[in-house]
């Protein structure tokens, strides 16, 4: 579950978030839209503890964002940049992620996740030769490998082909059925969300 109250963030004189309130319940998919520069990515980065808000509160499963270790254990994040080591294979990148999350016996889980996102045949190839769409699929695999309760997806449909977009819609539906809270930033995705919100002038319209 995700709860945000009175969140504010400014970059210099530019106020991006102006007292934003938002909640995403377990088993709910919320689609967040807004013009470029509206602050959608900033919001997700704050919730992922990558950036810090100027004021306001936010909680993930009742853990305040200041409790970074607990929050990060509960969120799955896929942002604009895939963030993989090109010298390592897809499997090795995921294994590193599993080790950082201290997941025991993760080999079978990694294989299953790679198969689910359609990358099993490329699992041992170095990610340096992956296409942008393949990296996006791998990023989705990484975002869910540690079984997070809350998913934060920033433009996850970008670079995916039509099969990939269909797969992602199915995955999001499955995550909702698993009782996870899913916050998606996307445009024209064809995603059937439970709620669609628009961010404008730093608040939800």
């Amino acid at each position: 579950m995700l709860a945000v109250r009175e969140l504010q963030k400014a970059f210099g004189a530019r106020r991006v978030l102006r007292g934003l309130d938002l909640s995403v319940a377990d088993g709910e998919v919320v689609l967040l839209q807004g013009e470029n520069g509206a602050g959608k990515s900033t919001l997700l980065r704050i919730l992922a503890t990558l950036d810090r808000a100027d004021s306001g509160e936010a909680e993930v499963d009742s853990f305040a964002l200041s409790d970074g270790v607990e929050v990060r254990a509960r969120i799955g994040f896929a942002g604009h940049r895939p963030g993989f080591y090109g010298e390592l294979s897809g499997r090795e990148n995921l294994a590193l992620w599993a080790q950082l999350h201290q997941l025991p016996e993760h080999s079978a889980e990694i294989d299953a996740t790679l198969e689910r996102v359609g990358l099993k045949a490329f699992a041992d190839d170095r990610t340096g030769i992956y296409s942008r769409g393949m990296l996006q699929r791998l990023a989705l695999a990484r975002a869910t490998l540690h079984q997070p309760t809350t998913l934060l997806l920033d433009e996850p449909f970008a670079a995916l082909d039509s099969a990939g977009r269909k797969l992602l819609r199915t995955l999001i539906s499955e995550w909702r059925d698993d009782g996870r809270a899913v916050l998606v930033v996307a445009h024209g995705s064809g995603l059937a969300a439970d709620r669609t919100l628009a961010l404008a002038n730093g608040v939800l319209a």
Partner: protein
Amino acid sequence: MSPLAALVRKEVRVELRSLQGTVAAAMLVLALLLLLRFTLTNDEIARARLAPAILWSVLLFAGLGLLTHTALREGDRGTGEMLRLAPLPRATLFLGAWAGNLLLLSGLTLLAFGFYILLFENSFGSAWPSALAILLLSAVGVSAAGTLTTQAAAPLPGAWMLGTLLAIPLLLFTVVEASLRALQALLLDDAGIATALTLLLLYDLAFLAGGAWLSELAD
């Protein structure tokens, strides 16, 4: 495997597979040593006295280039951000990067020392293993301060980043000075070596503990 061990293995594995930083740093070591070999005095005694300075000039430039490369690589690819999403204290991320950098820097130190022996006289005589040990001990502090500074500098825009990186030798003068004193004492068979080594160890610990603490503070 613990997260710390996983971070160290990743650091070494990525560098060994690409060799981007190590090959460039090794070439810089060789180029600087050759430059110094052909421009310094032919007086053997004078050159022997300059041995610590020669080694440190080379290691500082090449080593910091290597550390900067590893930090910038994390920033450019967004992998540093991925690491920050892991449910780990920031100090663990710092220590993982430090340990990986220490291994790479130790390899570079071995290489530089080998080139030095080949291109110059072995001024340390039979005490060369002790000289090498002093340099490796110094690498602990250099990699701690270097890791912290390069990680802080990587997201900064051009001039600020360069300014921050160029400040590293100023930050490290304590470690370098203690190391130089220890090497000079070794050359002159001076009793002051114990004091210099104690100082070096203390500086190493201070930079390591300070780096871990500042990483947590920056979260």
